[in-house]
Every structure is written in structure tokens, then in C-alpha cells.
Symmetry: C2
Subunit: 589 residues, 2 copies
Amino acid sequence: MSYQAPLREMQFVLYELLKGDEILPSLPGFEDATREIMDAMLTEGAKLAQNVIAPTNVPGDREGCVYDPVAKTVKTPTGFKEAYQQFAEAGWTALSAPVEYGGQGLPHTLNTLAEEMMCSANLSLGMYPGLTHGAVNALTSYGTDEQKNYYLPKLISGEWTGTMCLTEPQCGTDLALIRTKAEPQADGTYAITGTKIWITGGEHDLVDNIVHLVLAKLPDAPGGSKGISLFLVPKVLPDGSRNTAFCGGLEHKMGIKGSATCVMNFEGAKGTLIGEPHKGLQAMFVMMNSARLMVGTQGLGLGEIAYQVSLGFAKERLQSRSLNGPQAPDKPADPIIVHPDVRRMLLRQKATIEGARAMAYFAALNLDIAHKAEDADTRERADDMVQLLTPVVKAFLTDEGFFCANDGLQLMGGSGFTQDWPLEQYVRDARITRIYEGTNGIQALDLVGRKMGLNGGRSVKRFFGMLESYLKDNADAPFAAHVKDALAKLQKATLWLMQNGMADREQAGAAATPYLRLFALTTVAYFWSRMAQIAQQQLAAGTSETEYYDAKVKTAQFYMEKILPQVNGLLTDIEAGKDSLMQLSVSQF
Amino acid sequence: MSYQAPLREMQFVLYELLKGDEILPSLPGFEDATREIMDAMLTEGAKLAQNVIAPTNVPGDREGCVYDPVAKTVKTPTGFKEAYQQFAEAGWTALSAPVEYGGQGLPHTLNTLAEEMMCSANLSLGMYPGLTHGAVNALTSYGTDEQKNYYLPKLISGEWTGTMCLTEPQCGTDLALIRTKAEPQADGTYAITGTKIWITGGEHDLVDNIVHLVLAKLPDAPGGSKGISLFLVPKVLPDGSRNTAFCGGLEHKMGIKGSATCVMNFEGAKGTLIGEPHKGLQAMFVMMNSARLMVGTQGLGLGEIAYQVSLGFAKERLQSRSLNGPQAPDKPADPIIVHPDVRRMLLRQKATIEGARAMAYFAALNLDIAHKAEDADTRERADDMVQLLTPVVKAFLTDEGFFCANDGLQLMGGSGFTQDWPLEQYVRDARITRIYEGTNGIQALDLVGRKMGLNGGRSVKRFFGMLESYLKDNADAPFAAHVKDALAKLQKATLWLMQNGMADREQAGAAATPYLRLFALTTVAYFWSRMAQIAQQQLAAGTSETEYYDAKVKTAQFYMEKILPQVNGLLTDIEAGKDSLMQLSVSQF
């Protein structure tokens, strides 16, 4: 069972649901992003993902990355370099990058679809260009002309890759604890000294140069997170000499074994400042926010491939008879897809993935609108959506990607637990997506602590307004009552948060995780209602794709009946408040 | 952070909640099982688990089992053999085995507590004696005197181990598909020919002889599962010669890498019949049922150790300040246990494990009562509870063991994903417990399809009666209203099942998984209410263990407010019925 890019699903969401083929080409600079161009790109991306990238996934997990402690180099798994080169040469690293530095200037949305395919095919390999993408964003926004002119063309062409160097042994979530130092030098550069850990692609053999974006503190830095600056530290300096930024070893991890997760030792390495002194977090958050949406897409991609593989198994594996009598009487048993509990696991994957895809692409489309729309109000409205949905997309899609991989493994029984099938690798690979780029708990705090209050709660009001308008204008839309009920619960929870979370931030912290989930489930319900409505309209209009659209309506029904009811328990949980979390003393645990 | 057996928790459940120290010694044959004896055994077991077994866990995962294709032997990880020998020599394999064959004749309940400790310490190693235990049970019930006299003493002493050989490549859940043949021989033995897969401990170097219990078909067997017989096939025959039962290879698995999961080739191997021809499944289910409770205990043990390790991390790891101001102002940041969302993950583990432990030990105690009580009615009532709770214990505890391991990994962030900590191993090891000995979906079908209807629904009625009596007699017990509400929902779901699941078995199949979960959550709520009541009584009576009992009441509150509310969504899911699962055609997936 090999990967098949879900092009029909992608087109349904991008064109039929989101009208991306109308909106994108109408944005200044995206005139080329017509449906024809996008379809052609997606078809090419699918071929690359299926034929070039996907075959490297399982071997890459088995072989892993190998560190040479003498040369301080990292060998990526066999085949990674060749696959990466094909990826870069076909222009995928340049897709949404700025034209003035050699990029194709195509919409970020298209990049999201390409990322989904890459992550279904091989998450570990996809992470190398993924991180580069973030470095390009940060440099484009905050780099000096010199930095941009020298580094961006090579990063965009994929000849070089980029990293984000944030974490240190004593400092993961809390960047205020950073110790890496930056000493100003006479020539205007900085000598960077310190140890960074969990640096994805910190060292590898895919390309000749690696551009590290490093958080460090200047000697006169104020304390806390306000004293952090961002530096560009290349592996190879412009004069061709080797910079003193070395890989000190690899992490041994549960999954993503083909991705080099490095300890990086900066030994007075030469760097240049990006942006203003002490304002490094601002630039880093530009990287981080696009990285968070990307990690959500990783969850989506892993969920999709887990579904495809376990679905294939469920259609082939013969075991027991249907509860209502033999369905394949000519065979020794029925395929297990006849069993309601197997269908429950398959549909949990299908309904979540298709619903989550709608939410993820919606966020991506709004990012393009926020960047490119001519009208300031339109840009602001789109940016509000992106800000609000970024933590939701990151946390919900990665949680669900992991659950989908687990559902797939579970329905395959013992086979799923063996390495004869890739499901166990998907579970291991998906596990990290719930942690990196800010754990999902941090995403939930970002939602309730920052995003909800942004501009006086404008984003949330606009988001609720979007759902309310839909329900008002489409009172007879399929499952409108389900969406209405979930929205009422979400609004009740929001009110509770406003009344309690402002005065006592621990109340917000206690509610954060169930609130994010309630938010996500309601948002996905809204998209499922809209998707079912489109499907019903197509069926009424006599579409030739009867089976496809009919499945959409039925999958929406499953979502409403078997997934959405979780909102009831979540609201109860939130409204119970923080007491049962906070009242135990540490020694009572 | 090394394992500390939770002796205080075990004593609380066994003595204070379940009155095991009164009930067990009152049963004929268990007169020795006094509190003093049991405490002494538990203390010894804890030492063994902590000091001898636990240190082999991580190295065993890294080294794994190694197959020698020439000799067809399996080498277990370094240290396993010595640890196993100490375990056997200390009498743990003989604990609950019959005295007449060299066992200690102690209660099964005590064995469950020992198993929990073993599984926290090293699941892979614990599986070798665990499977032997099942073989002892089946032989004790169905073996001939000759089989019992020859095999039981060595299995009970731990000098030999046992296996269960059920699965074949084409046949996992559906045993009717078995192809392994048994040809009667002139000497009264049988020549067994066929391939079995996923045989735990099928071949290894811990002991000199392995006793395989093999399902196979006689030449005159009727079709389907009614034509299966059970055979005893030793690796080494009584005359000292090597039987033709060989290991053909090891499975490569996601976890439990120290457990030898073998392909077993029976090449006309000499076997003897256990029990009557064509009635092998009956004997196998004796093994299977005790194995199912044991697997539930595995989930409990893994959840406990995951909680211990992640709790230790949460107390030490400094990261960010408390949302309500610094708690450790002398340190660069607060320990992460101050954060509500970290406490949510810790309490989800703590509340689930302590509640699930009550349910598991209750089932174990009833197994002893069902075997030993003088009064037939008491035996029957206890057996009803065991029958009903076996699938619930197996599925709920293994699901939750996996979730606890994941919660522990998650709260540790990136550290949890690396092999510097054992959490990622616990996640990988816990993953199989949801699958083997009948997937958790099969457990749910067993509950709704078999156990609920047993003896006209007598078990369920008695179970509901137990909860109703408690609520009637303890109307002011802590959280009685929560239990009452959950029970009402469970009874509503039960009624729905009776009205719909009898006429249409697919309705029962569609409801099975959420119904089992609703059942388990309600049962655990009942035990939490009782545990909180005991704690309140102790506090009112002026106990010196104020902090301990106070934590019980607070943890019960967490369970009621943050976990139990899931029942709302589960009832909605069940009552929505099978349509959204069954109406998609296969090609619509």
C-alpha cells in the first residue's frame, strides 16, 4: 500500500469549499495562481511525494541518522540526499518564497498542500526544507539587505538549509532562561558561545551550508525574555572558512529518526545580528508562527497516510463474519471493514482528517489574504483569523494526527504493532508533533491567554460572527442544529473564561486545554456543515460524482453523531474551574 | 528516578476499600492470607521489582531479543535470565498455584498485586512467567493426571515456562480459520503440524523446557470454531529428545522488545490432547480469561510507572513562573508542577490509575471468592462480577495505561520523546496491551454481545444492584450525585442496547466501544466515591495520615469534574445508533 496524494480531497476543500481558485488569483502578486496552475503544481507534487519521497520513509526510519564524533558530521539515511535534491530542483523549496530572491512567489496556501503531501510521504525528510522555510520568512521580514542578498537565494533554491536554535538544556518552553552569549566584535559581527539542543537539521549531509538562526543574549541584555537577540550564524562563512558551530551529537528519539536532531555547540562562532538588539523573540515568532501552522499540517499528513494504509488493510484482511450474516460468502471470512467497530476507527480518521484539512487550509488561505489583500480591513480580518487559529490548528491537528495513527494501528491488530507495516512508525513520528514548536499545552495557553484577548477580543468576536452569520443565512443547512449547539457551548465557555480567567490567570490555565479542544471541535463542525451543504447541492444538481458527494454527507453525519458530542464533557470540565487541579499540595501527588 | 512500588496505595485498596484482609483469610484454603503475611509478601515483591527486575527494563529494550537462524534459538537481553531466576527462586511463579503441585496456594488477588509491580518494573520480562500462569490454569482445569503430575510442578516452580499458541497468519481474532492439524498416532499421541505466529515466549533461553499449549484441528473436526482441540506440545519430550517444534523467527515490534514474540513451526511435533476433542476453545478460554485480567494489570503497572517518572520530572524541572506569581523565587523558574495544565496531566494519570486499581483488585478478589467461597450463591455472585468485569478491566486499563504513558511523555516535553527517559518506551510497550489477548474492540463486543446477556442479564442486574444499594445506603457519600448521574446514563445506554442490540447485532457492535468506556468510567466513579468516603471517615476520626487521605478526596473531585463528564458524549454517541457507521459503501471510504 503506497501513498496516494488525496488530490480530489484537496481540490474539494481548496476550490469548492474555500473558493481558493477565485480568491487567490484576485490577490496582487498571485495573478498566476489560477486553478490550472495550481492543479498542475499539485499533480507534480503528488508524483514527487508518491514516487520519490515516500519510498525513503521506512528505510530512513530503520537506518536513522549517524553521527561521526571525529568529523562532527551527520550522515542522513541512504536516499535522503537524492530525494531532497529532486525536491529542491523541482522548485518546491522556492514555491512561496519572494520572487526578488529567486522564489516563485506563489501562495502560501499552495505550500501548505505541498507540505501535507511531503509529510504523508516522509515527515523526517520534509522537516529539512520545512525549517528552511521558517528561516526564509524571518530573514525576509527582519534581515539586513546584505543578509537577504547573500543568504536568501541559496536558502530559497534549496542549495542551503536553515535551522531555528532556541532550546538549551535548562530552557525549553521558557526562553527567558537562555544563556547563550553574543559578544560584539570589532568588525561588527558577534562571537556566539553556548549550547543549543534539539536543533532539527543542525548538521547533515544534504547540502553544503547550513544557516543557523540563533537566540542569544548581548552583554548588556536586560533580564528575562526582553533581553534576547537573534543572530544569523552560518556553518560556512562567506569567505569559505568553517565557522565554529559544531554538532556535538544526536538525540536518540522515539521517532522521526531520519531527521537529524542535534546538539549544537557554538564556540565563539561568528554571527550577524538579525533585526534590533534585544528584539529577537519578535523575529523568532515570525518563524515560529509559520512553523506552528506547518506542524499542524504534519499532523494532517500523518493522519492521512495512516488512514490510507489502515483502510487498505481493512478492505483486504479477512476475519470473522459480519454481525448480520456473511458479506463475502465465497471467502473464508468477511473483510474486517464490515464490522461496525472497525468502521468506527476508520471513520474517526476520515471525518477528523477531512474536517481538519478544511480548517488548516482555511488558515493558510487567510495567511495569504493577510499578506496580500489590497484592502487594509480585509488584511486585518484575515490576520485576525490566522492569529486565532494558529494554536488551534497546531494543537488539534497534531493531537488528531497521533490519534488517527493510533486508530489505524489498532484496527490492524497485531500487524499494526509490527514493523512489517508502517503504522507503528507513524505513531512514533506523530508523537513529537504534539510537543515541538510549543507543546500543545502551550498552544492552549496561547489561545486563552493571548489570542482571545488580542485587540479587545476582536478576533474571537469576528470568528463567532462568521459562524453566526452562516447559521443565520443557512438555517436549513445540514447539521446546522449540531453546529448551533456546539457554538452555544463554546460561547458559554468563552464567557466563563472572560469572567474568571482575567481575574485569576490560573483559571485560564486550568481551562486552556479543554477550551482549545472545544474550539477546534466546533470549528470543524462548522466546516463539516458547509462541506455537507456543498455536497447536497451537487447531488441536487445531478453531479456525476454521486458516490463522492454522498460520502461527504454521511461522513459529516458521523462527525456530528460520534465525535462532536465530546463538547458536552469539555464544557462541564471547563466550568468546574481550577480547584480540583490546584488544591493538592506538591507532596500530595 | 527508579520505581517505588506503591505499597500504601495497594494496601488502601486491598484492605481499606475491599476488606481483602477479612475476606481472603475467611475463604477455605486461604487461611494463611492474613494481613501480616500479605504485607510481608508485598514488601518482598516490592524489593524484587525495584532492585532486581526494574534495572533490566531499559537495557532490555535497547538490546532486544536475538534470533539465531541456525540453532533456531532466541537469546533474551542480558540480565533477563538472572532476574527471572531470582523471581522464580523467590517463589513468585508458585504464588497462587495449587499446593498439591508445589504451589503456595495463595490468593489470586495477591498475584495481581505482584503482577502490577512486575509490569511497572519490566513488562517484557514479566510476560514470560505471566504466560506460564495461564498454562498452569488451563492444565489444572483440563489436564489429565499424567499431564498434571509431569508438567505442573516444573511450570509452577518456574523451571519451565508455558505458551499459548493460537494465532496463525490468516487467523487472529477469528479462531475458526485455524489450519494447524493434529494427526492421531498409534501411541495415543498426536502429530501437530502448522505455523503459529506472535507466540510470546515461544523460544528463549530463560529455562530448559517450554510447554506449548496449541490449538489445532483433528482430522474429523467439524467446521468453524467448534472443531478446535487443544494440545500440549513440549519443546523437550519426556524422554529427553527435542520435539519438532521450532522457532522460525522473531517479530520486529514497536515495543516489548525484550519479550520474544516468535513464529513457531510445528513440524509433526508430538503432542497430547488437553481436555476433550473439539473442545479446545473451552480450555483456552480458561487461560484467556485469566490472561485478560492480567493484561489489564499490565496497563495499570505501566500507567503507575509513567506517573512516577513524569511526576519526578515535574517536581524538578524548572520552567516559567506560576501564572499567579513566582512560587520558587530563589530559583530561575518554578518547577513545572505549579502549572495547571501540567497538573491536569499528572492528575489524569493519578486519578485514573488509583480508580482503575480499585476496579482491577475488586475483580481479582471476586475471582478468589468465585473459586473458594463455601456458599454456592456467594461463588455465583462473585463469578458474575468477574465475568462482567473481565473485558472492562482489560480494555479500560490498557487504554488508560497507554494514555497515562502519553500524558507523562507529553508533560515532559522534548525530554519525554528522547530515549534519555523511559517514557517513550512505556508508550511503545503499552501500545500492545490494547491489542493482544483480544483487541479492546473485541473486549467491547464480549461485554455487549456475551457478558450482558449471560444468564438472562443476571450479572448486569447484580452489578447495577451493587451501585444502587451503595447510593441508597450512602446518599450523603462524597460525589454520590456524580455517581448517580453516571449510573443513570449507563442504565439508559443499557436499555437502549437491550431494545436495539438484540434485534440487530450491528447496533450492539456499533455501541460496543463507547458502552464499555461508559461502563468503566461509571464503575471507577463508584469506587472513587467509596474511596473518598473512607478518606473522609479517616479524616473525621483524626487520622495521622491527614495529607494522604485529604489527597484521596481531592483526587476523587478531580475525577468527577474532569474525567467523568466524558459520559455525556458517550451516551449521545451510543443513542445515535449504527447508521452513520454502516451507511457508507466500502468504496465510499
